[in-house]
């Protein structure tokens, strides 16, 4: 049996490992469209703040790891999938055949269609190549404009500050991380950033970028232009599906998959940022584009490829954790609440502490928080395990900090 995995990100690598664990003899090929060894985008911020060298971003550290696991790496991008003949075509023209195929090609950063977005000193922050460029240009004292204060924008915000740049953030939405935080948390995060010397402009848009002498001039919709040495664009991502046109594989925003992470073609599966997988909370299909979901997909898809669809994916909980210069925020599931739901909120503005629990009847369905880190994973356990809260619902309504106790009480009663 020849398993072919396209895309050497976390989802593809976990899939290869899962297959290898289940089948010692299978042939496994990992088609990597990049020249670097498999690496992790998530580690890029730490490379930028010089906590790690480039090697520190690698998904596996032992140089011989993949060959020891008998996983063959092919450093060529796939340009076409010929699903009727079970072949893929590589950028160098080579044709490789597979028995079962996993598409784990991830996503790419997208840029808004504004004048000047292609200029030299305007970069995305999505690949190691981007990171090298940013590291070379974001030098102490330089002026940097960051477009987008979404999740990815906020993650690199801290890295940029640690590089000693003068930072201005321009966000189109009314608050920071609008898709992860409510107004209260968003406003607190903003004031925290401002207290650290970052200029944050919300409800604002970059309209064009112009090169002048050595620098850039960034025009804004409702404010004076900004001077910058470097502009970083973190305004969104898009699944890598272009190469699948005419492949016969159903695509929408991402690759359409069923409950086994299988596409409309029997021997082709998809996982991670490229897959439009099931969201646990609202049971809709969309691209979550987060690491925990990418690895969860990779593992389940691999199990189903080896063991003929024995593992149902009941959905991933969307979740994030963000460290913004020491202020740690999280969001899980339906943090924004559900119709007729109840909530339990505790806010201590002065100390930047916030916890917001959202309930649907007897169940916890979402959480957002600032300044809470201890035992935080139990939120996933409570939501994903659909733990019926019983008496603990009222206790959590009175004191939202008792999540761990609520979880323990129920898991003990189960054991």
């Amino acid at each position: 049996m020849h398993y072919m995995i396209v895309g050497a990100g976390p989802s593809g690598v976990i899939a290869c490992e899962t297959i290898r664990k289940m089948d010692k003899n299978a042939k496994i090929s990992l088609i990597s469209g990049q020249c670097e060894p498999p690496y992790s985008r998530m580690a890029i911020p730490y490379f930028l703040e010089e906590k790690i060298a480039e090697k520190g971003t690698y998904l596996r550290h032992d140089e011989n790891y993949f060959s020891d696991q008998n996983i063959g790496i092919v450093s060529q991008a796939v340009t076409q999938v010929d699903s009727s003949n079970d072949n893929v075509i590589l950028a160098n023209g080579e044709v490789l055949s597979y028995d079962k195929l996993l598409l784990a090609t991830g996503a790419t950063a997208i840029s808004p269609p504004i004048a000047g977005i292609d200029l030299n000193n305007v970069h995305n922050c999505w690949t190691l190549e981007d990171a090298r460029n940013i590291a070379a240009k974001a030098v102490p004292g330089s002026s940097v404009v960051l477009m987008g204060a979404g999740f990815i924008g906020c993650i690199i915000l801290q890295s940029l500050l640690k590089r000693g740049v003068k930072l201005t953030v321009v966000e189109m939405g009314v608050r920071m991380v609008p898709r992860m935080m409510d107004d209260v948390a968003g406003a607190l995060l903003k004031s925290w950033c401002e207290s650290k010397g970052v200029t944050i402009m919300t409800s604002q848009q970059v309209t064009s970028i112009n090169a002048v002498n050595e620098g850039l001039i960034v025009d804004l919709k409702d404010a004076n232009s900004l001077n910058a040495d470097l502009v970083i664009c973190a305004t969104g991502v898009k699944s890598n599906i272009d190469f699948l046109e005419n492949s016969g594989i159903n695509i929408d925003q991402g690759i359409v998959v069923n409950e086994f992470l299988q596409t409309n073609i029997n021997n082709i599966y998809a996982s991670g940022d490229v897959a439009q997988g099931l969201d646990f909370s609202d049971q809709s299909q969309h691209v979550q584009a987060i690491q925990p979901t990418a690895v969860e997909h990779g593992r389940i898809a691999a199990i189903n490829m080896v063991n003929n669809n024995c593992c149902i994916h009941r959905g991933s909980v969307n979740m994030n954790i963000l460290d913004t210069m020491g202020l740690i925020s999280t969001s899980f599931g339906q943090w924004m609440g559900v119709p007729d739901g109840e909530q339990s909120i505790l806010l201590d503005k002065d100390n930047y502490l916030y916890i917001n629990l959202q309930f649907d009847g007897d169940y916890l369905v979402g959480v957002s928080s600032l300044g809470h880190t201890q035992n935080i994973g139990v939120v996933r356990g409570l939501i994903r395990g659909k733990v019926k809260l019983g008496v603990w619902k009222k206790r959590l309504m009175n004191n939202p900090n008792r999540l761990m106790e609520a979880y323990l009480a129920s898991s003990l009663s189960q054991a």
Partner: protein, 162 residues
């Protein structure tokens, strides 16, 4: 034979010796807030429940880690955090559905139970044998591990009085 920590909350008196032993072993200080094992108190019921990582087999924390900083100790079965590799991204802390891997603000890294390399100090510190270290397959721990492995098993359990 691989061993596992087995916790019997019925025997726990809430003396916190385990937390002290753990923080001393791992952080060099007697400070319960730095312990990897935590005793949770249920005042209403007068109950104490020590709790820590179950070293689940397809560990969520390990798979989610972007830089391979959590690895399996083949001798003990523990999932161990390599401090030098960890970048402090905390994604493991939201991935573990048991909430047993935690961020340490002082070091900027995460901490979790590593079974003290096969000689867990909480076990020797516990005066009532509420925490024991015994053969893995005779433990109820197996059940929890399964829970952890079956990504898609939703145990519909109800919260009774502890």
């Amino acid at each position: 034979m691989e061993k596992a920590l087995v916790i019997n909350p019925d025997k726990c008196t809430g003396c916190l010796q385990c937390e002290l032993a753990c923080s001393y072993e791992n952080e060099g200080v007697f400070n319960p807030s730095k312990s990897r094992i935590k005793v949770f108190t249920f005042h209403q019921e007068g109950r104490f429940v020590p709790y820590t990582c179950t070293q689940c087999s397809d560990a969520w924390c390990q798979q989610a880690c972007p830089v391979d900083a959590i690895t399996l100790n083949l001798l003990t079965g523990a999932k161990e955090v390599n401090e030098n590799t960890c970048v402090g991204c905390k994604v493991c802390t939201i991935s573990c559905p048991f909430g047993t891997i935690n961020y340490n603000q002082n070091t900027g890294k995460v901490i979790k139970c590593d079974l003290c390399g096969g000689d867990p100090k909480c076990v020797s510190a516990c005066p009532t044998q509420a925490i024991t270290y015994i053969d893995a397959n005779q433990t109820g721990m197996e059940k929890m591990r399964q829970w952890a492995t079956e990504t898609d098993n939703s145990p519909s359990n109800s919260a009774a009085n502890v």
